[in-house]
């Protein structure tokens, strides 16, 4: 079953383009990654889906319902985790969660308590005294406590420390197992790789690719830096899989686009003093595949 479908969704702010012709499709049970650099149109897409802004043209449905005309109905079964968390001042965490719960009759109080404990959230604190990371935790609890059928997240891990990120990924996986479809926007490829099964890549307001994470992984790209025992020679690295080659005496760096096994075999033939293999940035991927 389709949870989210958008058909040529377009949003212009005056003459400035937000998104153009965005068509994506999220199926029930998906952990869907929506990736792109900052300013690519991720938030615009999400805000349009949530009817915070109105599309200039195109349509979108969630649970088969129109996101403009049936928005309030749709939101009964949605959780939303914003990138920037802004809450009412002069409210304790407890008050805020209670307030939010009044909108969702199916709030699971036991689950809410469990989430607060797992994220070590002090619910007696005032919301406006909280650090960025703690506000994010409130937002996480708030977005999940009514066990939504769809959880929409905009840069969810920003502001969370690594320990909490791991806990958060665990919570997401459990929620997904219990039937929540996840829609996850991020500019960090690693985040998406860890958890998503399908991705859409957006850049400059336009969808560049809709892919399974497996096919994206199959076309892996690694940034490799080597220090050799002897000076490097260019002909040693004249291979189809190698691009952006940089040589300086014993130091070599390049981008490698084949399976890790092939890469290791290739490196094994060399006399290597030091080796670093890094994740490419999203920009590297874009430059490599989509230009």
């Amino acid at each position: 079953m389709d949870i989210i479908t958008t058909e040529k969704l377009t949003k212009f702010y005056g003459s400035e383009r937000g998104i153009e012709g965005v068509s994506i499709n999220v199926k029930q049970g998906d952990i869907f990654g929506f990736i792109g650099p900052n300013g690519a149109g991720k938030s615009t897409t999400i805000r349009t889906l949530l009817n915070l802004i109105f599309p200039s043209s195109g349509t979108s449905q969630i649970f088969g319902k129109d996101t403009v005309t049936e928005s309030a109905e749709i939101k009964k079964k949605i959780g939303y985790l914003p990138s920037e968390v802004n809450y009412y001042d002069n409210m304790s965490v407890e008050d805020l969660l209670n307030f939010s719960a009044t909108f969702f009759p199916n709030t699971d109080n036991k689950y809410r308590k469990e989430l607060c404990e797992r994220f070590a959230l002090d619910t007696t604190r005032e919301v406006n005294e909280l650090s960025l990371g703690n506000r994010k935790k409130v937002a996480i609890v708030q977005s999940l406590m009514h066990r939504p059928e769809l959880l929409i997240m905009d840069e969810p891990t920003s502001g969370l420390d690594p320990l909490m990120q791991t806990e958060f990924h665990q919570v997401l996986k459990e929620a997904n197992k219990d039937g929540t479809t996840l829609f996850f926007s991020s500019h960090i490829l690693g985040d998406v790789q860890k958890i998503c099964n399908r991705v859409s890549i957006i850049r400059n307001g336009v969808i560049e690719a809709n892919e399974d994470i497996d096919s994206l992984l199959a076309r892996q790209l690694k940034k490799v830096s080597l220090v050799l025992n002897d000076d490097a020679k260019e002909e040693q690295f004249a291979k189809e899989e190698i691009s952006k080659l940089n040589l300086l005496h014993q130091r070599v760096s390049f981008t490698y686009s084949d399976s890790p096994n092939e890469l290791l075999r290739f490196i094994a033939q060399l006399e290597v003093k030091d080796l670093t293999i890094e994740e490419p940035t999203l920009e590297d991927i874009f430059m490599h595949y989509y230009e």
Partner: protein, 268 residues
């Protein structure tokens, strides 16, 4: 209407309501009590009033017999101080109750709950009318009771009611202007200053327009000009057309808010 949002708005506006409410009640009662001492000086005060420049008397809506007739006395400062105070309270509350969400970026949180934009306005409008009604009722009651206390002779209830209805209409119109002005998109700017300007400026325009014929055109732009607080006029009574026009404009401004808010892109 959403009950939780309604209660939240009552709480969020309670402090400002208590401050404005106390000031309005204090001025209503305190200035009326002063009448007791003016009344003792009755005639000499009236002689002084007659010696004042006519323009000033008209501009401030003062009656010649304000120190001998309690309703004339009350209407003078009701049409000035009380109307400016309740007007500023109504216009700032009306302008902020909706736009505050966008300015403080809480609209994203609120509107991702299952609530329609119409319900948001309904709930906020209900909270606004609740607090404003309490303010108007308390002001009217305290005014009536204090007049009753300081007045030696019986006074005309009809005139008091007319004054109060005009006052309520003017206050509701200022509030509705606030609601409508809050829809003009502006990022993160507080608008309290200009709002006070609308109310006080409206009063000043109306006052100046009464002073000379050259400035009479100013009356057209001021809501103050369309209601009369001059109880010394013969046959001072409620004009049904004025009431209907005021109610129609107030309703139209609120409809505009519903229509516009249901179509706009949210900032925060």
């Amino acid at each position: 209407m959403n009950k939780a949002l309604y209660i939240l708005e009552l709480k969020r506006n309670l402090k400002s309501f208590l401050i404005w409410g106390s000031v309005v009640l204090f001025i209503t009662v305190f200035i009326l009590l002063l009448f007791l001492s003016f009344a003792d000086m009755g005639e000499s005060m009236q002689v002084m009033m007659e010696g004042m420049p006519e323009g000033m008397v008209k501009g401030f809506g003062m009656n010649v017999d304000i120190y001998t007739n309690v309703l004339a006395y009350y209407s003078t400062y009701f049409g000035l101080h009380i109307m400016i105070l309740t007007g500023i309270f109504a216009i700032t509350m009306g302008a902020n109750i909706l736009s505050k969400e966008e300015r403080e970026k809480t609209s994203e949180f609120l509107l991702t709950r299952p609530i329609s934009r119409t319900e948001v306005i309904n709930s906020k409008l209900a909270a606004y009318f609740t607090l404003l009604s309490i303010l108007i009722v308390l002001q009217t009651l305290s005014g009536y009771l204090t007049i009753d206390y300081v007045s030696e002779a019986p006074f005309d209830n009809g005139i008091f009611i007319t004054l109060s209805i005009y006052g309520t209409l003017l206050t509701l119109l200022h509030g509705a202007l606030g609601w409508a002005l809050s829809l003009i998109p502006k990022r993160g700017k507080a608008i309290t200053g200009p709002l006070i300007g609308v109310v006080v400026g409206g009063f000043v325009c109306s006052a100046i327009s009464k002073i000379s014929e050259d400035s009479e055109f100013l009356r057209w732009i001021s809501p103050f000009s369309y209601v009369s607080f001059d109880v010394s006029l013969p046959n001072y009574s409620l004009d049904p057309v004025t009431v209907i026009v005021f109610l129609a404009i107030i309703a139209a401004l609120h409809v505009l808010v519903y229509v516009s808010y249901n179509r706009r892109d949210l900032d925060g």
